[in-house]
């Protein structure tokens, strides 16, 4: 142990703390680790180092910290965690840009499976509530789809970049998984599918899905747009959805709904 310590002291190290939680219902606790510094480290490589040497900074034997990751290029969203207090993707969070000791914890708004891995199922459920698909199933061929103008394609492309990572929901001061607010992620997808000429046929049902799930619980703090790693226009999406809901309300009140 002693020789080991002398060796690391002569080198630059990266200090980091991981919030551990062994089962979904057990108490969380922090563990501190150190690993030799290398150029271009990111949080995933840091966690990989912890896996190869799961020993705390104080020299106690620990276990490899569980985490989710897949694409390693910020397109799948699975490695989303709270790093130094701010929600982001671990695979693109560069160690050299972070103050040490780096704190790594799971998102606070989703149920923890173990350690840094959370269950993001709620977001996929929300997509069902707003029917986030284009209705094209049929027994007979439907022929060519309707044309979509380049402007609409452009707008839709932005919303389609969403990777369901959960940053927007984690940073939202109004959202929690069990209080009836659908949240910015699904609101943007609702707007996306309402843009498409085929998807539009379900607009009223989607808007109803948003209304039934607390669309206006949004308090316009706009953290969602500030943290979105894919720069999805969540500000535009929410206000657009609000307008669709206003139109829907007018139809209901004036009796033109069904």
């Amino acid at each position: 142990m002693d020789t080991n310590k002398n060796a690391t002291e002569s080198q630059k190290v990266v200090k980091f703390k991981i919030k551990r939680q062994i089962t979904p219902d057990s108490e969380a606790y922090w563990e501190e680790f150190e690993t030799p510094w290398k150029p271009s480290l990111n949080i995933i490589t840091l966690l990989m180092a912890q896996h190869t040497h799961p020993v705390t900074a104080a020299g106690h034997k620990s276990t490899p910290a569980t985490y989710d990751a897949n694409c390693l290029e910020e397109v799948c969203g699975s490695c989303t965690m709270v790093i130094n207090g701010r929600v982001q993707q671990a695979c693109t969070a560069l160690v050299d840009k972070l103050e040490q000791p780096i704190t790594i914890e799971p998102m606070s708004k989703f149920p923890v499976v173990r350690d840094l891995m959370v269950d993001r199922k709620r977001m996929f459920e929300s997509l069902k509530w707003i029917k986030a698909w284009n209705p094209i199933d049929n027994t007979a061929p439907l022929g060519e789809g309707p044309k979509v103008s380049p402007e609409e394609q452009e707008k839709a492309y932005n919303f389609s970049r969403c990777m369901t990572c959960g940053c927007c929901l984690e940073s939202c001061p109004q959202w929690s998984s069990d209080e009836g607010f659908i949240g910015p992620q699904a609101i943007a997808q609702s707007v996306l599918f309402n843009i498409h000429p085929t998807g539009k046929s379900l607009e009223d049902e989607r808007v109803k899905g948003l209304i039934d799930n607390g669309l206006n619980i949004c308090g316009n703090a706009q953290n969602c747009a500030a943290v979105c790693p894919k720069e999805v226009d969540l500000i535009g999406a929410i206000s657009q959805a609000n307008w669709q809901a206003t139109k829907y309300m007018a139809k209901q009140i004036l009796g033109k709904g069904h």
């Binding site: 607390g214 308090g219 706009q222 500030a226």
Partner: protein, 213 residues
């Protein structure tokens, strides 16, 4: 938080309709009344007599109580109480981690809401239930620096809540769609707020600086 806690909590839109009503009552009648009230107060700048005339005129309106209860009392109670219920239930401030400007405006909207609720209760108790309210009785209170400050804070909180609430209203009803429209509306709402604030303060100053007779 248990792992199975992903259940759908659809509420048939009750929460949505209440929020829209909350937003609407904030604009009409509450914002309109606030502006009207602060403008009318400025008759105090002209002269104590002018102020007394306006007060007496308002007090002699037909169906006064009905008007007060229906277009002020009920909306204020609904807006205020509903706000006090949903603020602790939903709002979890996270300014430390996410400190962009609208997270602050969001936060202050809730803080000012709480201040206003207390302020209105005190204000109504002091002035509405004072049967012989006139310039001198108001001035007697507002010449005391502590009350002058309390009313200054009350006006500031109310006008902030009004101006930022207006900005929020335009988003919540889908009138300002997108970042650009909302930036423009922020400047417009902010300017309206500043003007209304100045109007409110000028009347307060008239009372504070008046000489006892």
């Amino acid at each position: 938080m248990s792992i199975n806690n992903n259940s759908l909590k659809a509420n048939n839109g009750t929460e949505f309709w209440l929020r829209r009503l909350h937003s609407l009552t904030g604009l009409f009648p509450l914002s309109l009344f606030l502006v009207f009230h602060l403008v009318v107060n400025n008759s105090a700048i002209k002269s104590p007599e002018a102020f007394n005339t306006v007060v007496n005129m308002l007090r002699s309106l037909p169906y006064l109580e009905l008007i007060e209860i229906s277009i002020l009392g009920i909306p204020i109670l609904f807006h205020g109480l509903y706000g006090l219920i949903i603020t602790p239930k939903f709002a979890r401030s996270n300014l430390g981690a996410y400190s962009q400007v609208h997270n602050w405006t969001y936060y202050f909207q809730r803080i000012t809401g709480i201040i206003i609720f207390i302020f209105i209760a005190v204000h109504v108790y002091q002035f509405r239930f004072n049967e012989d309210l006139d310039f001198e009785s108001v001035a007697m209170l507002l010449r005391e620096p502590i009350w002058a400050i309390a009313y200054f804070v009350g006006i500031l909180a109310s006008v902030y809540h009004f101006a930022n609430g207006l900005w929020n209203f335009l988003i919540s009803w889908g009138i300002t769609i997108g970042k650009k429209a909302q930036t423009v509306s922020a400047y417009i709402c902010g300017s309206i707020g500043l003007i209304v604030f100045a109007i409110g303060c000028s009347a307060l100053w008239a009372f504070y600086s008046s000489l006892p007779n």
